[in-house]
């Protein structure tokens, strides 16, 4: 396999609705932004594309990817659609990586979108719930927030995680987004705001959940030779991993923890894993990505993380899957302030208890505050990570607050419903 670099990227503003733009135009705008940011790169240099979007129901158009391909003027070059629920964007990024790593393409465009505003929120919830077993789960009251609520209820039972710890994740991500003009719902919140907002599925309130969005994002990946030819500041994709779990939460086993290099079996001798409290696929994805990138202690070896916080609860569960702290410590990890940016006043007091190295998580605002146009989300994370590693956050956001000083290595993490498909990709300064 050849080394793969990200050479440019672009995103549209994520919003509740962009009725003035269809999916083709949104992708076109993100694509044009990416090309404008890499002046030596032209459309002719792109060998092909992969296109990510989750739901044909939202689009009301089958083979929408073919329409994006022609709208961008990329026909008759190769392309294909990538779909894997919430992880669609992350899977698309890894497919582009595979195209370049294998030598099949020298320059591959990963492009993704979702237009969720085309139905009302409750119909949208129904579409998303169709990504659960339609024989056994969906008809019982299929509702994704309900599924995640059951998962975190068990996490709280096993480990003592609290709703206040979850609320701190909402406070963090919404406050970070105040400095990100691409985000959908920036806000300065308090724990009380989160807890007093409408209850969706106990214990998750509406501010514990991401919103539906319209938006698009693209990432362009290239071989070493092509990355050098186009100049700019390419970023290396040094590790990719993917994991899966059973569609039905009911089928998740209760066995042994999949260990990362810095963990021991002894630490988890009493933990029945993953049950419904942890995402085994996320642990597998991290293990594979860390192995490829040579990461032995993620909390020390990563400078920031953009992870799939569809819910405040799943951000806490994901800290543990990624090995930033041990299983069961996700709540304490939030309390310690480790995933917060050092230069933002969140109006919170951090605990004096156990300390971890600071690893800002979702400096962009994550899904909770940026929005979650499903097929674009994983690529949005790639774009923010790319800008972080280039040191160009200030240039692209018009505000340098979210720039992590001397960021050398970051991780992006994309996650499909209840942990069925999960990707982890490591990007680092070239």
């Amino acid at each position: 396999m050849r080394p793969v670099y990200m050479i440019t990227g672009g995103i549209t503003k994520f919003a509740k609705a962009h009725p003035d733009k269809d999916f083709r135009l949104m992708v076109k705008q993100a694509f044009d932004y990416a090309l404008a940011d890499a002046p030596a790169l032209t459309r002719n240099d792109i060998d092909g594309s992969v296109c990510s979007y989750f739901s044909d129901h939202f689009t009301r158009q089958l083979k929408a990817g073919a329409m994006v391909q022609d709208y961008l003027g990329l026909c008759p070059k190769p392309s294909r659609r990538i779909e894997g629920g919430g992880a669609t964007g992350g899977l698309c990024f890894q497919s582009a990586w595979e195209a370049v790593a294998s030598g099949r393409m020298n320059v591959c465009l990963a492009m993704g979108f979702e237009t969720m505003s085309r139905v009302n929120t409750w119909k949208g919830n129904e579409f998303i719930a169709l990504a659960s077993d339609t024989n056994f789960d969906y008809p019982v009251g299929g509702f994704y927030t309900g599924y995640y609520a059951m998962m975190v209820q068990r996490h709280m039972h096993e480990f003592g995680t609290t709703v206040e710890q979850m609320a701190k994740v909402a406070v963090k991500n919404h406050a970070n987004a105040l400095h990100n003009p691409y985000s959908q719902s920036p806000a300065l919140l308090t724990i009380a705001d989160v807890r007093s907002s409408p209850m969706v599925a106990t214990p998750l309130t509406i501010l514990d959940c991401c919103q539906m969005s319209d938006g698009a994002a693209v990432a362009i990946l290239a071989s070493e030779e092509m990355a050098a030819r186009f100049g700019g500041t390419p970023v290396r994709v040094s590790g990719i991993g993917c994991g899966t779990d059973a569609m039905r939460m009911a089928d998740r086993p209760h066995g042994k923890v999949i260990l990362l290099p810095h963990e021991s079996a002894e630490e988890y001798k009493d933990l029945r894993y993953p049950g419904v409290h942890s995402f085994r696929g996320g642990r597998m994805a991290a293990k594979l990505a860390y192995g490829m990138a040579g990461i032995n202690n993620p909390a020390e070896d990563l400078d920031f993380i953009e992870l799939h916080d569809a819910y405040t609860s799943s951000e806490i569960q994901t800290y543990e899957d990624l090995g930033l702290c041990r299983y069961g410590q996700g709540g304490a990890f939030v309390d310690s302030g480790a995933p917060f940016l050092a230069n933002i006043d969140y109006g919170l007091r951090f605990s004096d208890g156990e300390k971890w190295p600071r690893v800002p998580v979702n400096p962009s605002g994550g899904l909770l505050a940026c929005g979650h146009p499903v097929g674009a989300t994983g690529l949005m994370q790639a774009v923010f990570a790319f800008w972080q590693l280039q040191g160009t956050i200030g240039k692209h956001l018009g505000d340098g607050t979210l720039q992590i000083p001397d960021a050398r290595r970051g991780l992006i993490h994309s996650h499909a419903g209840t942990g069925t498909y999960i990707t982890a990709s490591v990007l680092e300064k070239a």
């Binding site: 009725p19 309900g146 599925a201």
Partner: protein, 177 residues
């Protein structure tokens, strides 16, 4: 008379030409529901009836109609599933049907105050995952007969069945023991 068309010569007599330049589509009065004009946003209706087969899962639904909760057990490794499946996830062998106990415990739960459109009218409703003795996996169902604040992990529950089966997983539900 010979016409030369772009796709080759064709022969026609004048009397055979019967095209009607005044042809009209009939006008209808169903119209379009319009939400906005800039951009134009219209209502688009879409509905479908599937001929959905439960296929190898069918005995489970037939069991509910007989007021029996069926799970499956791997004939090779013995792994036991509360939510049935035709083949074992652990070893790949075929499973056989077993009858589950009608009593279990709440493994986890939530009360939904919102939901997908199809379930909005049923809110609030409580979802539970049920664990059974000597069974390796769980079963998703609804709990009735307890207020949201009365529900807890470990609580004992009992299966009940609709008198008139609808051949849906909601033919079974649970109540506090």
């Amino acid at each position: 008379m010979i016409f030369i068309s772009p796709i080759g010569p064709m022969t026609h007599t004048a009397s055979e030409v019967c095209m009607n330049p005044k042809a009209k589509l009939p006008e209808t009065e169903d119209g379009t529901i319009l939400f906005n004009t800039d951009p134009i946003i219209v209502k688009y209706h879409y509905e479908i009836d599937y001929l959905h087969s439960y296929a190898q899962d069918s005995p489970f639904f037939a069991g509910l109609a007989r007021k029996k909760l069926l799970g499956s057990r791997c004939a090779a490794c013995g792994f036991t599933y509360a939510t049935p499946r035709g083949h074992c996830m652990e070893c790949g062998a075929a499973t056989e049907w077993i009858e589950l106990p009608n009593k279990g415990r709440i493994h986890t739960y939530t009360t939904c105050y919102y939901g997908g459109e199809a379930f909005l009218k049923e809110t609030p409703y409580t979802l539970i995952m049920v664990e059974f003795n000597l069974v390796n996996t769980l079963f998703l169902s609804r709990l009735v007969g307890a207020e949201p604040e009365e529900v807890s992990i470990g609580m004992e529950v009992k299966a009940r069945f609709l008198r008139n089966a609808k051949f849906k997983p909601t033919d079974v539900y649970f109540v506090p023991l």
